[in-house]
Symmetry: C2
Subunit: 320 residues, 2 copies
DNA sequence: TCCATTGTCTGACTATAGTCAGACAATGGA
DNA sequence: TCCATTGTCTGACTATAGTCAGACAATGGA
C-alpha cells in the first residue's frame, strides 16, 4: 500500500465525517440527546430486552437504565418484566414513542436524500455504486481470520453449510461419508489447521489444512458464505494456510476439487497451483492441484502489518 | 431518486460512521480530549492566530481560550501577541507539541492503513477508487448555486478566470472587448441573470442569461473551475438558467460558442440545443445553438426538493 | 434448600464540550 | 481625541456521556 492510497483514505475519512457529522448533530439531535435517540431507535417497533440494548449499544447498565427512565418519563417508552425471565426487563415504545421513531426515521431519510438531491441522474447512480463498493470493502476489511478448534460450534456450522452447498451444487449430490476423510482431530496442530473467517463475530468462511507428510500438506474445507463472496476472503484464508504451512516446514500443498466449483479452481490457478494427475480416488473430485516450492517463493500474498508512512501534511483530526 | 437509493445511502452512512467513529474515539483520543487534539492539529506546524482557529473550528471564544490554556499548561503550545495586531494572539506548537502532532498524524495514518491492510491488491485499488468517487460526489452535492450581482467580487473573479481560460484555449487568444457584449448591468433582473456556483464558500463556476426579447434569451458566461469539473456543475447552472427563463416567460434560448470548447458543445447538445446558422458576428464564435419550446417541455432537469419516503425499516441513528 | 450467576437499578462520582455575559485592551477611522 | 469595533479572556453556568461500587431480585443448577 502506498502513501497516495493512505492519503486518499484520510481525505475520504475527513470529507465523509464532516458531511455525515452534520446528521448526528443537526438531524437527529433536534431536542433529544444522541443517547436517547440511539436507545429509541434500538428499541424499535417490536420492543427489545434491556439486556440486548446494553449489548447492542455497548452501554453501561447504569447509564442505560437512566436513559430508559428518561424515555419513560417523556412518555415515549414503557418497561415491564420480560415474560420468560423475571430478571430481565422489556422496553417497548408507546404510541408517542413510535411517532418519535417515525420522525427520526424521516429525518434520517431526508438527510440521505439531501446528499443525492443536488446530483444529476448519472452522478447519483455513480454515487450509489461507489457507496456500495466502499461499504462492501469496509466490511471486507473487518473480516478476521483465526485458527479454531474444528469441533467448535462455529466451525461445525461452517462445515455443515459447506456440505449443504456441495450437496446442492454437485450433479450427483454430496455424501460426506463417501468423501475422503478429514476428521476434526486431523485439523488440529500438529496434524493440521482449521481457520475460520468471522464478520461481526459471525462465522462467514473456513479453510483447513491437513499435514500428510514431512513436507506435504493438503488443503481442505475451503468455503465462504454466499453473502460475503467477492470480498477476497477465500484468498486470505488460502494465504493464511500457506503461511502456516511454510512455518511448519511444508514445501508442497495439494488439493482436489469438483468441476462445478469454478471459482475455487480460478482461485487456485491464480495462486500458483497447477493441475496434476489424480492423487486420490475421491469420488467427488474432478480436478487435482498442487503447489510446489512453497518455501522458496515469497508466498503469494501474506498479510502485513500496516507500514507507517511519515508525511509533513497537516491534517484535521476529525476523520483523518 | 428511489427508495433503494435512499436505503443504500443510509446503509453507507451507518457503516462508515461506525468504522470511522473508532478513529475519533480510540485512535485520536489516547489521553487527550478530542477538543484539544483538534486544536493541536489546527495550530499545525506553522502556528495559527487564535482568531483563525476560532473560525476554522467553529469554537466559542471562551471555550477555545480554555483549550489553548490547557495545551499551554501541558507545554504543547505557546501563545504570544500577533506581530501585526496587538489584539490578536498567535499560537505556536512547542517542540513537545510538534512531537505530539507527529504522534497524532501517525495514528491517523495507521488508522487509514488498517482499513486497507486486510484487503488484497485488487480490492485495495477498488476501495481507493470508490472512496475517491464518493468524496468527489459528496463535494459535488455541497455545491450551491445562487443569483448574485455580476459586479460582486466573487462574480468578477469568475469572469476573469473565464476570460483567462478563453485566452489560453482559443487559437487566436481572447480579447473581451472584441467579443459580443454582456455588461454587468445586462445580467441583473429583469435584463438578465447571473448565477454563481460555490463550494465551501469559494466561487467555482458561473453562468448568465441575457434577456434579448419578449420570448428570447441568450446564455452567456458559462464557466466551471477546472478543479471541480466532472461534478455536473455546468449542468446544474444551465438547468437553473433555463428554469428562470421559463419563469419570466421566455420560450427560446440561444448561445454561441468556440470550436475549442468541446465539453460545452456536448453539454448543450445533451440538453436539447440544436445548431443553427450564425445569429451574430461574434469573431470568437464558431457554433451557434438554440433551444425552442422551453415552456412546453418539462425542462431537462430541475432541482427538486428531496421526496420523503416512508419505510418501516428500523435504522440505527448513528449515521443512518 | 443453598448459592453462584445474571440482570437491573441507585447513588455518587467525573470529564468533556459547551454557552453566555461581561471585562479589558488594542485598533482604526471620524 | 473619541468611540465603535474587534479579539481575547474570565467567571459562572449547563448538558451530555459516561464510570464504578454496591444493593437487590430472579434464576437455575448442585
Amino acid at each position: 500500500m502506498d502513501a497516495g492510497q493512505i492519503r486518499q483514505v484520510r481525505h475520504f475519512n475527513r470529507a465523509v465525517t464532516r458531511r455525515i457529522g452534520v446528521l448526528t448533530d443537526d438531524y437527529l439531535g433536534r431536542g433529544r440527546s444522541l443517547g436517547e435517540a440511539r436507545v429509541l431507535f434500538e428499541i424499535g417497533r417490536d420492543g427489545a430486552n434491556v439486556r440486548d440494548l446494553r449489548v447492542r449499544l455497548l452501554l453501561d447498565s447504569g447509564y442505560l437504565s437512566r436513559l430508559l427512565r428518561a424515555l419513560e418519563k417523556q412518555g415515549l417508552a414503557t418497561l415491564r418484566r420480560a415474560d420468560d425471565d423475571g430478571r430481565m426487563r422489556r422496553a417497548t415504545l408507546t404510541r408517542k414513542g413510535l411517532r418519535e421513531l417515525d420522525a427520526l426515521d424521516r429525518r434520517s431519510q431526508d438527510f440521505a436524500a439531501s446528499l443525492l438531491a443536488p446530483l444529476g441522474g448519472p452522478q447519483r447512480e455513480r454515487m450509489i455504486a461507489a457507496m456500495g463498493e466502499v461499504e462492501r470493502l469496509m466490511r471486507a476489511s473487518m473480516v478476521t481470520i483465526d485458527p479454531v478448534d474444528p469441533g467448535s460450534a462455529d466451525a461445525r456450522a461452517c462445515i455443515e453449510a459447506y456440505f449443504r452447498e456441495l450437496d446442492a451444487r454437485f450433479e450427483t449430490g454430496f455424501d460426506s461419508t463417501r468423501s475422503t476423510s478429514a476428521d476434526p482431530g486431523e485439523l488440529v496442530p500438529p496434524a493440521g489447521l482449521f481457520l475460520i473467517a468471522r464478520l461481526d463475530g459471525q462465522p462467514v468462511g473456513c479453510g483447513a489444512m491437513k499435514v500428510k507428510g514431512r513436507r506435504l500438506g493438503e488443503i481442505k474445507r475451503m468455503w465462504v458464505a454466499p453473502s460475503t463472496r467477492g470480498l477476497g476472503i477465500a484468498q486470505r484464508l488460502l494465504a493464511a494456510l500457506e503461511k502456516y504451512a511454510v512455518e511448519i516446514g511444508l514445501d508442497k500443498l495439494q488439493l482436489d476439487t469438483n468441476r462445478t466449483l469454478r471459482e475455487a479452481r480460478a482461485l487456485y490457478a491464480r495462486n500458483g497451483y497447477v493441475e496434476v494427475p489424480p492423487y486420490n480416488t475421491n469420488p467427488y473430485a474432478d480436478h487435482w492441484f498442487e503447489k510446489r516450492g512453497l518455501r522458496q517463493r515469497k508466498s503469494g500474498r501474506v498479510e502485513k502489518k500496516p507500514r507507517r508512512i511519515r508525511s509533513p501534511a497537516n491534517q484535521s483530526p476529525t476523520g483523518c
